[in-house]
Symmetry: C2
Subunit: 595 residues, 2 copies
């Protein structure tokens, strides 16, 4: 099967004299998750990973993906004729190093330049130049070889009323134009879908759980051209754009528009999330300024109105999580619960919330050893029963007309070993230390990550993922620019924590073949005090759900840890109790008791 | 007085058509501390700060320095006609931003390009280009206007026996050549004095407390040219160089040599610590590769032989510090002690140690409110008596034939207020948390700084300096590449902590007008465990001196903090007791008692 697809690709390559063809797993907007239309790497390789680079050569094919997918990718690539390259493992070259080795004089590296970022495209071009090879960024072989390709995703655009959006479009566009000018440009070419949605106070449905519409924006000093499939444009949206002086164009016409436009000054674009093909098209016509999108920071800093709605929905969402934990605790060992039936229970409790739109990602429900796989997804064919022992880990979230939520609780569903309790307790201590940290204004996630990991590091343990990611507002569940992680990556800019940023706090521990633990709460960054020593910031929890006391071993907690846990639980009780029925309430009082 | 010097400068500027003349406080080697010959900014302005940029214009003069010197610089610049620019203060432009504003079309920015780094020089050139102005890096006005200028420092070079150096020159030069090749160059032009000393296993005496000799090295694939003042070359050193196949040249002849040399490939230089003038000279003749010196990391990673000697000397040095604390505690309130007499006592105890060479910096001895100034220096004219109340802070260190030491202890010399005890205790907790931290291999100082600051941050307090700096081996007391600090500086590369690195751990707290506290121990980075979660590192203390229990309020310590303090004190007792006399020993037992 797969080999036929590789062969079809290789025929195209031979015709064009291409020595290496590169396929990514992203769309034209560098999205983390993509519509089916864009799953070219999955079509060719069978590999469902979200972070893939596939290099096809006449005599070999290799697929790079990251640690979240090593196990699943290995299974999917079996007998495919494609070799798995485990990113970051010792002895595995990076894509760039591998290209450096494989590209020969007069060789040709080709790809669909819409699905490769400017940054990567330029790196590839540099490597090719060093080797006397060349790069073709206009080879879209998917459109030639993919039979029965799914259609481009297309769903009507929804306009957010200003009171829900929390800020008017004008209040965002004018400062943005100033930022573009300060960056030395007259235009911003914006490809990032969540930034476009936020800027225009609209939402789409072109990516599962990510309420975005495929689109581009070209924002000039006194112009705003917006490119979107005509099938997504409602009459209401057309009127809306007219009022905002936003000119509508068909999505497909961006290239023609850019080619024919008489630019009156430099164009700013973000090399990390703009397609290399657009850069190729622009660079001979107009000076290109490459800097991060100036939309990123304002989008991440919630307005007071957004914060108010966010807090309301996080309360309702937290109450649903509490109800779910109660349901699990009540029924475990009495009725048959599977990973999927548990997930369905969680999802159904969310659906009851007024203003519910969608899940923010498919619910992760993993029992026992399954939870040791950080990106485990249960399926009908392949799932586990939730037996009354060990842990059930549930990582879930919703999209509401006022928030995107994300929360993980690990629930003791039966007897635990001392190791399980120790690890659960250390993770809880790390989660709470970060949650309650006070820190100087100017800190980035690399300063703060230490709070969450110190209890585990002290015992020679760790988790192999970041501690926190930004979260959108009725948008993507993974957003930048802030993140909380420890590893130093010189070329990666770090974002200072600003007032109004919403971020996850999710340490964990994963013991292969045994169990997985993660405790994730979402936090809002707020100003703390300003005094002779400087300005201080802190976090406020947005998530209010008990941390399972059945899994706590106080022998691993300091007095300060215990105080933090009791303080958090007291607030959970105060905030959530009024939202529960009597039976649920009685359980919550017990679940949040002082220890 | 000062105005006459400014006028002399302005005459030179007028003659050459220079609109802005820039003076730094460094020498030709980007040294932090410099010989008197190089103190041009001090000669012109009267300002003794170590980190100065002075911009002289026809109608104004401005001097930038950092927070350590705001108070002293303000006093020194009074009535000088030079305005103080406080670096990093709100509203104060950086030198570059100021130049951007002041340089006009056809303007000329001039400086002595030997005392300006390549990095800065190129930034200035870029600014000038943007403004249609130009840059002259060959204007050494100091030599024209400075009457009675001190001579160039010059002291004979000392050769370290291999058993003291801890590594042969050959063992260092061959890997260095490999690193230069890997960086894409055939030559390394090395200007950094400590790197040169380390590479050749020699020491000089051209900068107070910094055992370095003014010199340059040009290391080729099979050549090593070393430039040093002839007055520093002994017969022994000449023979030594001959054996090492190092060609000796007079210091002054570097420029001629570089101008006449037929380079067979690119030259590597570190833009941060090489003079811009050298780059100007090279850039038209040979490709220049600009990267950090590949000598930096090997120099920072102590060899086992160096570690052994370092530990021995730190024991002796720590015993001297213990004796000093005992002396203070015994005599305070009974004999007259001044800041300078205390410093002299400390220094005299160091001088008694066999293998003592010099202080590693002038001893800081500060009582009461004086200690709130982080870089306080007592003088005969202006010093304080050490009264029997509050704290005496002593920050000191020595150069030995096997170590460079640095240690700060804050000693309770009488009654303390509750605030003093609280702050002392929090600083101790931070110091010990960092000292005992276990952390993943790959961490830089920005991950680790959080350990030291968290106890203070939690109470809205902080100290306005870094937590740790690297320390040389019988070399400079401040060395890179590692450092422990929290602030994110995007353009500053961070160094991963490697086995064998020696670093300070020195949190503090400074209450203006009241008191200052700092607890500084030196730590060695060692490998800890390697397991399924990754590789872990930790620190081992090198400094063994009690943290004053008279100033500890256990109400501010967790059980873990108390355990760390007791563990440290037990080791102090075990290691230092054998080095003390009976009276001193009795005191140490009490001073390190379990709490």
């Amino acid at each position: 099967m797969t080999n036929e697809k590789l062969n079809a690709l290789r025929s195209c390559m031979e015709k064009d004299g291409v020595s290496v063809y590169l396929i990514t797993s992203t769309d034209f907007h560098a999205s983390e998750y993509v519509g089916d239309y864009f799953k070219v790497s999955e079509y060719v390789s069978g590999c469902t990973s979200d972070n893939v680079t596939l290099l096809v050569e006449p005599d070999r094919a290799r697929l790079w993906t990251d640690g979240r997918y090593f196990i699943s990718a290995a299974a999917e690539l079996k007998d495919s004729g494609i070799e798995l390259m485990k990113m970051g493992e010792p002895g595995v070259p990076e894509v760039e190093a591998y290209l450096e080795e494989r590209l020969q004089k007069d060789g040709v590296l080709a790809f669909d330049g819409r699905c490769v970022s400017v940054k990567k495209g330029l790196q590839y071009r540099e490597i090719a130049a060093r080797k006397g090879a060349s790069v073709r960024g206009d080879k879209d072989y998917a459109s030639l070889i993919w039979e029965n390709r799914p259609p481009m995703p297309s769903h009507p655009v929804r306009i957010l009323p200003e009171e829900i959006a929390g800020c008017s479009v004008r209040e965002k566009v004018e400062p943005l134009r100033g930022a573009v000018r300060r960056a030395g440009a007259n235009y911003l070419l914006l490809s990032k879908l969540d930034d476009l949605m936020d800027l225009l106070n609209i939402r789409g449905a072109d990516i599962t759980c990510n309420p975005v519409a495929l689109s581009y924006g070209l924002i000039g000093t006194d112009s705003f051209d917006f490119f979107i499939q005509e099938s997504e444009v409602t009459g209401e949206f057309r009127d809306y754009c007219k009022k905002l002086a936003v000119s509508l164009h068909p999505y497909e016409e961006l290239r023609t528009f850019l080619t024919e436009k008489n630019f009156s000054g430099p164009v700013l674009l973000d090399p990390v999330c703009t397609g290399y093909a657009l850069y190729e098209l622009l660079r001979d016509r107009v000076p290109v300024v490459m800097k991060p999108n100036p939309t990123e920071l304002p989008k991440a800093m919630r307005t007071p109105a957004q914060i108010e709605r966010t807090k309301e929905y996080y309360l309702l969402d937290s109450a649903a999580v509490c109800r779910f934990i109660f349901w699990v605790k009540k029924h475990i060992g009495k009725i048959r619960i599977t990973e999927l039936s548990a997930a369905e229970k969680m999802d159904s409790l969310r659906r009851e919330i007024p203003g519910y739109l969608d899940l923010s990602f498919p619910t992760i429900s993993a029992w026992g050893p399954n939870a040791a796989m950080a990106h485990y997804a249960a399926t009908e064919e392949n799932q586990s029963e939730v037996k009354p022992e060990g842990f059930l880990l549930v990582d879930s979230g919703g999209q509401y007309l006022g928030a995107t939520t994300d929360v993980t609780r690990t629930i003791a569903v039966g007897p635990l070993t001392p190791e399980m309790k120790r690890d659960f307790t250390l993770v809880a201590a790390g989660n709470l230390a970060l949650l309650t940290a006070r820190f100087r204004y100017g800190c980035t996630g690399r300063n703060l990550d230490t709070y969450a990991r110190a209890p585990l590091w002290a015992r020679g343990m760790d988790y192999n993922h970041g501690t926190g990611h930004g979260i959108g507002y009725i948008l993507n569940v993974h957003e930048g620019p802030q993140s909380i992680r420890w590893k130093y990556i010189p070329e990666l800019a770090e974002a200072v924590f600003e007032e109004g940023m919403v971020t996850s706090d999710e340490p964990g521990i994963y013991i292969e073949g045994k169990y997985g633990i993660r405790t994730e709460s979402i936090v809002l960054c707020v100003k703390d005090m300003e005094n002779e020593f400087g300005s201080f910031m802190r976090f406020e929890p947005l998530t209010w759900a008990p941390i399972d006391l059945d899994a706590i071993d106080t022998g691993y907690l300091s007095d300060a840890d215990i105080r933090r846990l009791n303080d958090y639980h007291r607030e959970v009780r105060e905030k959530i109790l009024p939202l529960l029925n009597e039976e649920e309430g009685a359980w919550l009082i017990e679940a949040t008791r002082e220890i």
